[in-house]
C-alpha cells in the first residue's frame, strides 16, 4: 500500500514540524518578557453567579441594541465544571515574566511535543502496515505510547495558559471576586486516549496470533 507508506512519512514530517514550531514558539515567547503577555482568565459575576453570559463586557464605541457582549463561553461550562463562571476573556498585561510567557504558550509547546512523540510512534506502525505486517513486534507498544501521549498532552496542554492567567492576575492584583483562572479539565483527550489504547490492546492480541502462525505450513 504505497499511500500508507506516504502517509507514514507525512505523519512523521508533520510531527517534526509541530514539535519544532511548538518549542520555537514557546522559546520566542520567553524572549518577549517583560513585554505584554496574553492569557485566558475567567470573569465571574460575584453578585449573580448563575452562569455564563450574565456579565456584560463593555466594548468602547460599540452598542448592542437590546443586548450586550459577554465573554466567550468558558470551557467545560456545558458540563458544569466551571460553575458560576460568566465568560472567558484574554488578559493582556505588560511586565510579564518568562514563566508567564512560557505558560501562556504552553498549549502550543505541549501540543507540539505531543504531536512529535505521537508521530514518531505512529510512523513505524503505518510503515509496517504498508509492508503488509500490521502486527509486527513493537506496534502494540508504539500505539500504547500514542494513547498515553494523547491523554496526557491533551489534558495538560489547555491548562497551562490558564495557569499563566492565574499568575498574571496575581501579579496585577486583579485576582479576586471578579476574576478567576479556572482550570477546565476535559475528558475528551482521555476518552480518545482510551480508544487508541483499546486499539493497542487489539494489536497486542494480533501480535500474539501472528507469532502463533509464524512457521505454520
Amino acid at each position: 500500500m504505497p499511500w500508507v507508506r506516504r502517509l507514514s512519512g507525512l505523519v512523521v514530517i508533520l510531527g517534526l514540524v509541530a514539535g519544532v514550531v511548538g518549542v520555537g514558539y514557546a522559546i520566542n515567547g520567553m524572549t518577549q518578557a517583560p513585554g505584554f503577555v496574553k492569557a485566558p482568565v475567567t470573569l465571574i459575576d460575584a453578585d449573580a453567579p448563575t452562569g455564563w453570559a450574565d456579565v456584560e463586557v463593555d466594548v468602547p464605541g460599540v452598542d448592542v441594541p437590546d443586548g450586550w457582549f459577554a465573554g466567550a463561553q468558558p470551557p467545560g461550562s456545558g458540563s458544569g465544571l466551571v460553575s458560576g463562571a460568566d465568560g472567558r476573556l484574554t488578559i493582556v498585561a505588560w511586565d510579564s515574566t518568562r514563566i508567564e510567557q512560557l505558560l501562556s504558550r504552553g498549549d502550543r509547546l505541549v501540543g507540539g511535543l505531543g504531536l512529535l512523540v505521537g508521530a514518531l510512534a505512529l510512523g513505524p506502525v503505518l510503515g509496517s502496515i504498508a509492508q503488509g505486517r500490521p502486527f509486527a513486534p513493537g506496534n502494540a507498544r508504539r500505539l500504547t505510547v500514542v494513547a498515553a501521549t494523547v491523554a496526557i498532552a491533551g489534558s495538560i496542554a489547555p491548562t497551562l495558559p490558564e495557569i499563566a492567567g492565574f499568575l498574571v492576575l496575581e501579579r496585577t492584583g486583579l485576582a479576586g471576586p471578579d476574576f478567576a483562572s479556572a482550570t477546565s479539565p476535559s475528558l475528551q483527550p482521555v476518552l480518545v486516549g482510551g480508544v487508541v489504547l483499546a486499539l493497542a490492546l487489539a494489536f497486542r492480541a494480533g501480535e500474539r496470533l501472528s507469532d502463533d502462525v509464524r512457521g505454520l505450513v
Binding site: V213, R214, G215, L216, V217
Partner: protein
C-alpha cells in the same frame, strides 16, 4: 522448554529421495507452495496444518508416522 522449541523431526527430504520426487513436483501435486514445503523439509516449520499433512501423505503414499518423528531428548 520454551514454547517455540520442539524435537519433532520431519523426514520429507528422505521420503522425496526415496520416491525420486522433487519439491516442485510435490508442490504441484499437493497445491502447497514450494516455500512452505521447503520450510517443512529443512526443519524450519513450527507447526503443520492437518490439511497439509493429509496432502503430503496422499502425494507420497505414506503416513504421518513416516513423515514425522520425535527425537529423543
Amino acid at each position: 522448554m520454551p514454547a517455540d522449541e520442539h524435537r519433532v523431526v520431519c523426514h520429507l527430504d528422505r521420503l522425496l529421495a526415496d520416491r525420486g520426487m522433487t519439491l516442485v513436483e510435490l508442490s504441484a501435486r499437493t497445491g502447497i507452495s514450494p516455500v512452505n514445503l521447503s520450510l517443512l523439509k529443512n526443519g524450519h516449520a513450527r507447526a503443520i496444518r492437518f490439511s497439509t499433512l493429509t496432502a503430503v501423505c496422499d502425494a507420497l503414499g505414506c503416513t504421518p508416522d513416516d513423515l514425522l518423528s520425535v527425537a529423543h531428548g
